[in-house]
Symmetry: C2
DNA sequence: TCTTATATAGGAATTACTCTTATTTAAGAA
DNA sequence: TTCTTAAATAAGAGTAATTCCTATATAAGA
């Protein structure tokens, strides 16, 4: 989560992508903003330091980052897509009312699910990932 | 899934909703179309028998049906929301490439998850539902 | 340094969805 | 059955979110 400038560049390189200031800024923004920002939030954040960036560039780079597994999409009931720079396996706790999304890491759960579906064997489907969306309401509104 | 006209009306009534031709047609369309149609697909389908229906009405009614638990939203990596008239607990198998979504019913899995989270107890979050999105690729392109 | 495939800027275009207001209607009351 | 009225719909303008196009710029390998 707390990647320095060099680590961000390295991630891009490792993915076989050209390192550009735009890609750097966008990946950094998704990391830094946390809480699963929308494209629009990314744009607002980036323009503070990088005023000229084009809207289309942000969308295109986000797609590229998703395709190259540096970022993932997080879907909610609302219209706008949200993005997540945490690529370690984790799930999402989501409150539709407040649009708040919290990460949920649970190794035991992941192992349980993996074991379950190994046994189950969905014929004619190759599983690439299993994600849980846990819907409900947060009791407090802290954080 | 194979609801007749009367059953559709009954569902609306049971939810405490006024029965209107538009609501009837929209709920029927989501049932009949299956495969998690977009609002646009619902509009196209309905206009064949019900040419005058307004776009805004379809979106509004879909919202109403979701709020009253007669339909649920299904989100994918693409921009457009999709809808599902199957309200029994089930999960989704999703291929991002083809945008195909298959329903996945699994009582054992549901019980396992429920038991797991009962024990786990996410403090400060009231769970309303847990949905799995199983991402990957279908081997065949049948169906 | 040169080359070139790739990426970005700029902005128009499109899609998906939302909102507003006048009109209509479902369904309970009389 | 007719009346009443809160709620629903039509129509279409408006907005948000995303995509697309093309000229220009740039990263990075040769
Ligand atoms: Mn979603
Ligand atoms: Mn949209
Ligand atoms: Zn996350
Ligand atoms: Zn379904």
């Amino acid at each position: 989560m707390k990647l320095n400038s060099e680590q961000i560049n390295q991630k891009l390189k490792d993915a076989g992508l050209k390192v550009t200031p735009q890609r750097h800024a966008i990946l950094e923004a998704v990391c830094r903003l946390g809480n699963h920002p929308t494209a629009d939030m990314v744009i607002d954040y980036i323009r503070r330091t990088h005023p000229g960036i084009a809207t289309g560039t942000v969308y295109k780079v986000l797609d590229t980052l998703v395709d190259n597994h540096l970022v993932r999409r997080v879907k909610t009931d609302k219209d706008a897509m949200r993005y997540d720079a945490i690529m370690e396996s984790h799930h999402h706790i989501y409150c539709a009312e407040t649009e708040r999304i919290e990460d949920y890491f649970d190794k035991d759960l992941d192992e349980m699910l993996q074991a379950y579906f190994q046994k189950k064997n969905l014929h004619n489907f190759k599983i690439e990932g299993i994600f849980l969306q846990i819907n409900g309401n947060f009791n407090d509104n802290s954080k």
